[in-house]
């Protein structure tokens, strides 16, 4: 492989990985706090792209306004999902919560089929995202650096929120001990809602960027990115936000590189991701950043 095509593939891998990471963060934040794998999270990715699509095609919004609209509405769906489906079940065994998550996922997918229609729709990119860029002898489409840049800004913003704001500190405390966090005067319901809000916003951005990269949307489009992002979250160490970012990037890069180095294996791309998951669960179940913390009693 030439140097140029290596870099082209690397950029491609990072942009795919950024998308996995954006989605993986929502899984990992919710898991960190509620110990729940929110299977409906992938469907928020789908909703994000559909709302952006309708923002442009139905409400004739300029692309940026449609994107903000889509992120806002998707975040609203995420918050309602927490309040209606998960909050009432929080005191019950985890399996109830888990079952509710599967149910919400099917509900959103089937509602989408009914409301949006089952036929795939063509998502049109804003014109400036369709340009060919040449840097030296490397060529990419302009959406590749845009995806990477947007994701990077969001990662940095999220890390700042989590580590340097009151709400972020409360979220980290919640992931350790919900009851004691309440004893600190934290409105735990509101903070859990805030975590869902952040996760849903990132999923919506992930969905819009996904539709820009692969410009065809359908009601089940969230399933595969959702599963891959879940693998990424486990790979990074589920419950750990930094881990989700690293896991997502790693998975994206490895997937693209696998196909680049061994084109004959390209059909096994998805199988490869899940093979990583199985191996990981066998040999390092805590993931890259996750560690078993010794607890003092």
């Amino acid at each position: 492989m030439t140097f140029d095509s290596f870099f082209q593939n690397l950029a491609n891998g990072i942009s795919l990985g950024s998308l996995y990471a954006l989605i993986a963060i929502g899984y990992t934040m919710v898991y960190g706090i509620l110990r729940l794998i929110n299977f409906a999270h992938g469907d928020l990715v789908m909703l994000g792209s559909y709302f952006a699509f309708y923002g442009v095609s139905m409400f004739f919004l300029p692309w940026w306004a449609a994107f903000i609209f889509a992120v806002g509405v998707t975040a609203g769906v995420g918050v309602v999902m927490e309040k209606v489906a998960y909050r009432p079940l929080r005191e019950f065994p985890r399996i109830n919560l888990f079952t509710a998550a599967v149910a919400v996922s099917f509900l959103l997918e089937n509602l989408a089929i009914v409301i949006f229609g089952g036929r795939p729709k063509a998502f049109s990119r804003p014109p400036f995202m369709d340009k060919m860029l040449n840097i030296g002898s490397i060529t990419f489409v302009s959406y590749t650096p845009i995806i990477i840049a947007v994701s990077l800004v969001l990662f940095v913003g999220l890390i700042l929120i989590i580590n340097h704001t009151k709400a972020g500190t409360a979220m980290r405390a919640l992931s350790k001990d919900i009851e004691t966090t309440g004893l600190m005067g934290v409105n735990t319901n509101k903070t859990i809602m805030f975590a869902f809000l952040l996760g849903s916003c990132l999923a919506a951005v992930g969905g819009i960027l996904w539709a820009i990269k692969f410009p065809q949307i359908n009601p089940l489009m969230g399933v595969m990115p959702g599963l891959k992002a879940f693998v990424a979250a486990v790979l990074g160490g589920i419950g750990n936000v930094g881990g989700a970012m690293i896991g997502g990037l790693l998975l994206g890069i490895v997937e693209i590189m696998l196909v680049a180095f061994f084109p004959s294996l390209s059909g096994y791309r998805d199988a490869f991701s899940f093979a990583i998951l199985i191996l990981l669960l066998l040999f390092r179940p805590t993931g890259i950043m996750g560690e078993v913390q010794p607890e003092k009693v």
């Binding site: 500190t169 409360a170 009851e179 004691t180 600190m184 934290v186 003092k296 009693v297």
Partner: protein, 236 residues
């Protein structure tokens, strides 16, 4: 200041509290004593809104606390140092303290108060950037106490501070409570298994047995009561 009357609480089929009444007067240290399972922690958890009572009333400074969530009880001016300390091991010492001040908005004053906690517990200052999980049991108890004080509670409740601590350390914690009570007029409601130590610092004490108040009175009187001496102080 705090008036509990005829409080009944049950978990599942177990009646943990069967009509207890107690009173906490401002500026005093009140001890709640009793064996394991007598209902001491349940009492504090009910005050904090973690457990819902079946009947009875809890009034704080004339207002009912029934139906409030923990964070609302904290805003009314009550803080609980929970049993087993439960510091946030994934946060630093300083973050634990700041979280204790979550309900407050006065940033400058919070900073000054953290300094004050460091003066009270110098070990915490030495370790302020360390994660709380790396502290020893005694240090964690100091941190849990400091964290509760950060909300500026008018009533401080503390559940089994000497649990799992060496006798010297638990003496340390109790003497801090006395210091807080004398210097700041801090009202304290203390749960303790070590009845002797608790009676030595408390003004008034209640003795719980299987969900009922068995005995109450000024701590000095209870300390000389024959029943108490036999059952709780091990003196025959």
């Amino acid at each position: 200041m705090l008036n509990i009357s005829n409080l009944h609480v049950s978990y599942g089929g177990i009646r943990a509290l069967q009509g207890i009444s107690l009173n906490v007067e401002e500026g005093k240290i009140i001890a709640l004593l009793g064996a394991n399972g007598a209902g001491k922690s349940t009492t504090l958890r009910t005050i904090m809104g973690i457990v819902k009572p079946d009947q009875g009333s809890i009034d704080f400074e004339g207002e009912s606390l029934l139906g409030l969530k923990s964070f609302q009880v904290v805003m009314k001016g009550i803080a609980l140092v929970p049993e087993g300390r439960r510091v946030f091991s994934n946060l630093t010492v300083k973050e634990n303290l700041s979280l204790g001040a979550y309900t407050r908005k006065d940033k400058e004053k919070i900073k000054a108060d953290i300094e004050e906690i460091y003066e009270l517990f110098p070990r915490l200052e030495e370790r302020h950037t360390q994660s709380a999980g790396t502290l020893s049991g005694g240090e964690q108890q100091m941190l849990a106490l400091g964290r509760a004080l950060m909300s500026k509670p008018r009533l401080l409740m503390i559940d089994e501070p000497s649990l799992g601590l060496a006798p010297v350390l638990s003496q340390d914690v109790l003497s801090k409570l006395v210091e807080l009570n004398q210097k700041r007029n801090q009202t304290v409601l203390l749960i303790e298994q070590n009845a002797r130590a608790a009676l030595s610092i408390a003004d008034y004490a209640y003795i719980l047995e299987t969900g009922q108040i068995k005995l109450e009175g000024p701590a000095s009187e209870l300390a000389t009561n024959d029943d108490v001496r036999k059952t709780y102080l091990g003196i025959h």
